[in-house]
């Protein structure tokens, strides 16, 4: 990897900070949660959360520097060497996710203040930010850890805080409560399956450290316990990833949650679960065993294709904008699962690249909708009429993210699909390449419908509207959206950061290097 900027970047910093950055990345947001709860004033808690999230992102950058320099970083909690203690292991694969989650955390918080002040009751705002920081903590904790049980613990932190955050939409729309409850039930089943799988793995190997599990599996070989563990872990994480047909919780959860929560979750939550699935299927379990290959090829690949086609069609029929985007998310997760199911370096690299781009563009789209909803109460596709003129900047940024979702050249979304198709053809999966094309055509229709309504249809001229027409997007919310739109163009021109990390990640998984 390109290590040119890393050394001087790290030498300015105190050695202590560099050494402890892995722990601080998770511990800082974790401890900021209870402190935000005590602060008990909305704006104060927000300021605090912003400071911590910026510091967290800085830690992610420091770690990135270390990963560029050394390839991987290990941090042992309590100074207990593995397998006795818990370690954080950072390599290219989870570095990509950590940068993404920490970055989206900062952007979502900046974006979130105006909508939170409006959507959440004043007495609950501090607790809301506390829950947000804990959610961020959980997602980072799942991504960074090198310990299988520690994944479960932080998955629970992120899940429980997510249920709460989604339910907070209940003040706007009571359906948020049932959406949250639905997710709670399914999410708990998913977590149970996952922990059963970890238990079975422990039974077979006697250890919880991921690298050590792999080493023990090499000695132990393949047996029924390991196979059952594999199936339970994939299904459990599949529920969290919204793998088709386990995605039923997702559309309502995204549609009725508070604006900022929808934007943050759409760009991070399923991505982290997907990362965990990649890590377990290819990094912890031995790649190339007949059982896992059959599982990937015969179960995962058809599910992925079904998601890509069926959920894209479902997106076409949605009138609620956020549900439309949510179904599109399930379809896009299908792309990522397809890349994983190929089980090749090219496939996994393309899938991770698509993950990164999709997080940027879907975050942007949800933020755009949030701004429209904040200014004009936009919920339905037809409400977008004329927004291209009344809110030109936000609409343009929204459109760029939308084009990136289709995968038009000049936007980042293009590269993910391009490399996925290449990987599929390389493996001889012409049907997968066809499915990608069909799903992309469907995306043209559902994105096109939104853009057409926005730019080509005149704004409605009712009395209520003409007064509100002067409403401007709050600057604080607009800046993150514009940044994401710019990122979507920038990562087309220079995709070296995500592509470099995605390639390095695939190399970690297939190059024989233990995580």
């Amino acid at each position: 990897m390109n290590a040119s900027f890393a050394p001087d970047f790290l030498t300015w910093l105190p050695a202590w900070l560099v050494m402890q950055s892995a722990a601080l990345l998770v511990v800082m947001p974790l401890l900021s949660g209870p402190i935000a709860l005590v602060l008990s004033r909305g704006r104060l808690a927000w300021t605090w959360a912003i400071i911590i999230s910026l510091a967290t992102f800085a830690m992610a950058l420091i770690l990135y520097g270390q990963v560029l320099e050394h390839g991987s970083v290990e941090y042992a909690f309590g100074d207990w060497a593995p397998p006795l203690g818990i370690t954080y292991n950072i390599d290219a694969l989870n570095m990509l996710i950590l940068l993404l989650v920490a970055g989206m955390g900062v952007l979502s918080l900046f974006y979130g203040l105006p909508s939170v002040l409006r959507e959440i009751a004043p007495k609950d705002q501090a607790a809301f930010f506390a829950a947000f920081m804990l959610c961020l903590t959980g997602l980072l904790g799942v991504a960074i850890t090198g310990d299988a049980f520690n994944v479960f613990v932080f998955l629970e932190i992120s899940s429980i805080s997510t249920y709460v955050l989604i339910a907070m939409g209940g003040r706007q729309d009571r359906r948020a409560l049932t959406a949250s409850f639905h997710y709670l039930i399914l999410g708990t089943i998913g977590a149970t399956f996952f922990v059963i799988g970890i238990g079975l793995l422990y039974m077979a190997t006697g250890t919880l450290n991921m690298a050590d599990i792999t080493a023990q599996l090499r000695l132990h070989g393949d047996d029924r316990v390991v196979r059952a563990a594999f199936a339970f872990i994939v299904i459990g994480l599949g529920l969290k990833t919204a793998m088709f047909p386990l995605h039923t919780w997702l559309p309502n959860a995204y549609a009725y949650s508070p604006t900022v929560v929808g934007a943050f979750l759409a760009s991070t939550a399923t991505k982290v679960a997907f990362y965990a699935m990649v890590r377990f299927t290819l990094g912890v379990f031995l790649p190339g065993s007949p059982f896992s290959d059959a599982f990937l090829g015969l179960v995962l690949a058809p599910m992925a294709v079904a998601a890509m086609v069926i959920c894209s069609v479902q997106a076409l029929y949605q009138t609620d904008l956020r549900k439309l985007l949510a179904y599109s998310s399930v379809a896009q997760l299908g792309y990522m699962l397809l890349g994983l199911s190929m089980g090749t370096m090219a496939g996994v690299s393309a899938s991770l690249l698509h993950l990164f781009n999709h997080a940027l563009l879907k975050g942007g789209l949800f933020m755009g909708l949030g701004i429209f909803a904040l200014s004009f109460g936009v919920r339905q596709v037809q409400d977008l009429r004329g927004l291209g003129k009344t809110m030109p900047v936000a609409a343009a940024a929204f459109a760029i993210c939308g084009l990136s979702l289709i995968g038009v050249p000049l936007t980042a979304g293009f590269w993910g699909k391009y490399f996925l198709i290449t990987a599929a053809l390389e493996k001889g999966w012409w049907w997968a390449a066809t499915a990608i094309l069909i799903s992309s055509v469907l995306a043209i229709f559902y994105v096109g419908r939104m853009l057409e309504t926005m730019y080509l249809q005149p704004a409605p001229k009712t009395k209520g509207r003409s007064k509100k027409i002067t409403a401007k997007a709050p600057l604080l919310a607009l800046i993150p959206l514009v940044l994401l739109a710019v990122a979507n163009v920038w990562f087309f021109v220079d995709a070296s950061l995500p592509k470099g990390l995605a390639d390095a990640a695939a190399n970690v998984l297939f190059g024989g290097g233990a995580p």
Binding site: L37, A131, D147, F154, G206, F232
Partner: protein, 349 residues
């Protein structure tokens, strides 16, 4: 796996089987019943039987937690939740959930499929017993000086997981604060509707025996909680169990003397603070370790000359953190349920 080792059929095996059969029976009864009160009671029974079974499996720490959570405080919380809703489940339409049946059968089949290659029960050569588990047994003494290996694993070797679990509990409490609220401070003089429901209508006005006995019991329960807390290094116990025990003493007080009396003794603002404080104490120990030059939760740094003393000190403080958060969150949930008044009229749904 290992043909040499056979599970002996002895008295304990028979007892285990009986416990398992009881669990299945209770489980089926819960599914078939419609009366919520009976279901809550049976789920308490289920936990108690599980706890007994864990004791027979030599997992005393787990048994203790299960008894305190499942049979103790969870039952009270479920009763509190039940008071907000109906006593009986609405009669479900007889429907055949074929998909659910297939999923359940497939899950069971997968587990059965795996049993064939599982190590025999109690096999000393199986991976969990021979590898890291054995290492813990060997190392705990010299490394930490803590006699109870379970406590050492929980609070030191895998202390970071416990930190995460404490945060999970805080998150749950946070969820209750956000969704249900804490119901505000105690209302003096005029009794609220919620207070009456929580106190079981008129328990507070008579039942002299209950009042006197509970007044005698509560200090004993709290002392017992403290014992469980500080004895965790030597025997089963620790912050989780102690937190539940202490919280249950306050819940008992609320049940007998009314929710307002309990809120005067332990105000909701205090439990909100306590839930946050516990996690901060736990994390604070880790941060101090960082500042002393070790890694996060490296208790040796607390006393570099005598690492085992540092370990004992670290374990004691993090267990206090666990206690504070667990006890506070249990009370948050209890206050959240019992102080709840229907704030949404039916037409708003």
């Amino acid at each position: 796996m290992n043909g040499e080792f056979l599970t002996p059929i002895d008295a304990f095996t028979v007892i285990d089987l009986v416990f398992m059969m009881m669990l299945v029976t209770v489980g089926i009864a819960i599914v078939r019943l419609k009366d919520l009160f009976a279901i809550v009671m049976l789920s308490g029974v289920y936990s108690l039987v599980s706890a007994a079974w864990f004791v027979s499996l030599d997992a005393v720490d787990v048994a203790f937690t299960e008894a305190a959570v499942g049979a103790g405080i969870a039952t009270v919380l479920m009763l509190g939740a039940m008071l907000l809703t109906a006593r009986k489940a609405a009669p479900a339409k007889p429907a055949r959930h074929w998909a659910a049946l297939i999923i359940v059968c497939a899950t069971g089949a997968a587990l059965l499929y795996a049993t064939v290659d599982m190590p025999s029960f109690g096999d000393p050569l199986s991976a969990p017993n021979a590898y890291v588990g054995l290492e813990y047994l060997k190392q705990t003494g010299p490394d930490t000086g803590v006699p109870n290996v379970v406590s050492a694993i929980l609070a030191s070797y895998r202390g970071y997981d416990t930190f995460g679990e404490t945060t999970v509990i805080l998150t749950a409490g946070l969820g209750v604060i956000l969704i249900l609220g804490l119901g505000g401070p105690a209302r003096r003089k005029k009794k609220s509707v919620a207070a009456k429901t929580a106190a079981g209508k008129s328990l507070s006005s008579h039942h002299v025996v209950l009042r006197v006995v509970s007044k005698l019991m509560i200090p004993i329960i709290i002392v017992y909680g403290a014992y469980v807390q500080f004895h965790g290094d030597f025997g089963p116990g620790g912050g989780f169990q102690a937190g539940l025990i202490i919280a249950s003493s306050i819940v008992l007080y609320a049940l007998i003397f009314g929710i307002d009396a309990a809120k005067e003794a332990v105000p909701p603002s205090l439990v909100r603070l306590g839930a946050a404080l516990g996690v901060l104490i736990y994390g604070g120990v880790g941060v101090i370790n960082l500042l002393l030059g070790g890694n996060f939760l490296s208790y040796n740094t607390l006393n570099p000359a005598h690492p085992t003393h540092g370990q004992e000190l670290g374990i004691m403080f993090v267990e206090i953190g666990v206690l504070v958060t667990v006890a506070s969150v249990m009370l948050i949930i209890f206050y959240g349920f019992t102080s709840r008044q229907p704030d949404i009229s039916d037409k708003d749904w």
